[in-house]
């Protein structure tokens, strides 16, 4: 975790808080494990107490009191309204189009927000680094009304071309989602440790729309593996409030318990 020297918070804290802020109260959110999960749980203690969290493990409307270690953590089941089998999660909840926001992480992402979590380098059959694969992400990316992606921004993660499309964002641009029969709205934002990117309404290319406080645009450009588009209305993310920092720190500290 890299310290942001100009501030009293870390870049990961800023990223998590910025992600949490984007979730609307009452929304139904299908959550991937890791930082997306931390951000979603954080949002419930901030502006979205009625955020309805679903995890692929079958936990429905869960309200965990500490960070889950895995997507099937007992904490998620113990604080769920109900726990159901995975066919019900994938067929009745996700596939039916009932989820407002899918919240995903990624190992690699390209300028059309296509996600790779399968392998890095060389080929599928003989990869340099083999990653876990799809899990629930492919259908989350395909189906939710919108998708938010949380990922640290570096030239290793923000790449010109992903080595494998595990979960499609906007494919090759306008028209790709329809051609591939993806029904959801696709990625609406990518939250990084440097700022926030949103797809250009016309080209669907990810465009830097926010920088976190203390981050320079050159930092973002240097940490992006393609020629980064920057919004003419580039804004600065609101700095974390003390209460937000306290909440994220309290939450992260639960994972050590």
């Amino acid at each position: 975790m890299s310290e942001n020297l100009n501030s009293t918070w870390t870049a990961d804290e800023m990223m998590t808080i910025a992600a949490a802020r984007t979730l609307k109260d009452g929304n139904t959110c299908f959550v991937g494990i890791g930082i997306p999960s931390t951000a979603a749980i954080l949002a419930k203690s901030m502006q979205a107490p009625n955020l309805f969290l679903i995890y692929e493990s079958g936990t429905v409307n869960t309200n965990p009191q500490k960070l889950p270690l895995s997507i099937g953590d007992g904490e998620l089941a113990n604080h769920a309204l109900t726990v159901v089998g995975m066919p019900e999660i994938f067929n009745y909840w996700l596939q039916s189009g009932r989820i407002d926001v899918g919240f995903l992480g990624a190992a690699q992402i390209d300028k059309f927000a296509n996600i790779n979590t399968t392998f890095i380098g060389q080929t599928y059959d003989a990869p340099k680094v083999r990653l876990p694969g799809a899990g629930g992400a492919t259908e989350i990316a395909a189906t939710c009304k919108e998708v938010a992606i949380i990922i640290r921004q570096t030239t290793r993660t923000f790449v010109k071309q992903v080595d494998f499309i595990t979960s499609m964002g906007f494919g090759e641009g306008p028209g790709s989602r329809a051609k591939n029969r993806l029904r959801g709205g696709g990625p609406s934002r990518v939250i990084t440790d440097l700022g926030i990117l949103e797809p250009d309404p016309e080209t669907l290319e990810l465009t830097m729309t926010y920088l976190h406080p203390g981050v320079d645009i050159n930092q973002a450009i240097e940490n992006t593996g393609w020629e980064l588009k920057v919004s003419p209305n580039l804004k600065t993310t609101k700095a974390p409030e003390q209460s937000e920092l306290e909440k994220v720190r309290a939450l992260v500290s639960t994972s050590d318990k």
């Binding site: 596939q95 629930g136 979960s167």
Partner: protein, 274 residues
């Protein structure tokens, strides 16, 4: 009708070289003790299906039990990679393994079709993913009612499914609760079913989100307290996360792993442990 058997006898009776085996339990109730007994009995050439291979299949792969892995998310949850899986897949140690990779939604529906006694299930899945180019048993069907095209996945029907559950009753029915994943589907899809349980009770008590697996769907029940360790059994014990973290180090090098295999599996008998 289920019989109560000691775990070694249950594995010996119902798990054969070359079987298609499903050991399910989504993070929760992973049948580790049964997996270790399979290693101990040196079962070979398994085609092993599991949504999340997790440590259990990493161990069985490293021990040389598995020739093909069917899965949809292959990591050490919350920790990192499965080193034995990668060493087998990329370097062929201790043997080459073939993989067949799916999405959770797709593999879940393969179980649903298997449980339903039909050759395939339909869903909207895999769309836009490169996975479809590398994965057998995924295709398309056109709706007979409209222009809709759906994904089809072939049924999966394990020779044997192995689960861990919290309780059996004396009649040999099994109850599990908390996260149950695809347990029900894996049972109905299988020819043979082995369940290890934490305890035997006189009578089940109601629990939220519980499922009951009737005795006539089960072949053998083995009472193995802590049989899901180091994963967890809701209301019995929590996940031993240090073990998941430690596994990264144990499994990274072949030598360490082989020592672990000798010390923790081959030289021990079939019990759950903590």
């Amino acid at each position: 009708m289920s019989k109560f058997l000691e775990l070694p006898q249950a594995i010996e009776s119902y798990v054969k070289n070359g079987d298609l085996i499903a050991m399910e339990g989504f993070t929760h109730l992973i049948p580790f003790a049964a997996g270790h007994e399979i290693i101990r009995q040196k079962v070979k050439d398994l085609t092993a299906v599991r949504l999340t291979p997790d440590l259990i299949y990493d161990q069985m792969i490293g021990a040389g039990c598995i020739k093909k892995l069917i899965f949809s998310w292959g990591g050490n949850p919350g920790v990192g990679s499965l080193h034995r899986f990668r060493d087998a897949y990329q370097n062929g140690w201790p043997n080459k393994i073939e993989i067949e990779e799916h999405t959770h939604a797709g593999l879940t529906n393969r179980y649903v079709a298997g449980a339903s006694g039909i050759g395939f299930a339909v869903l909207k899945g895999y769309s836009g993913s490169d996975l479809v180019d590398h994965t057998k048993n995924v295709s398309e069907v056109k709706s007979p009612f409209s222009d809709e095209v759906l994904t089809a996945v072939a049924a999966i029907n394990p020779d044997v499914t192995i689960l861990h559950a919290q309780q059996a009753d004396k009649a040999g029915n099994v109850m599990m609760w908390g996260i149950t994943g695809v347990a029900k589907e894996a049972v109905f899809a299988a020819s043979k079913v082995i369940v290890t349980v934490e305890e035997v009770v006189e009578k089940f008590s109601p629990k939220f989100s519980s499922i009951i697996i009737p005795s006539n769907l089960i072949d053998a029940i083995s009472v193995v307290p802590n049989g899901a360790w180091p994963s967890y059994a809701s209301d019995f014990y929590e996940r031993d996360n240090n073990q998941y973290i430690a596994w990264d180090e144990i499994s990274k090098e072949r030598e360490n792993f082989s020592k672990w295999l000798d010390d923790e599996i081959y030289s021990k008998s079939a019990t759950g442990k903590k």
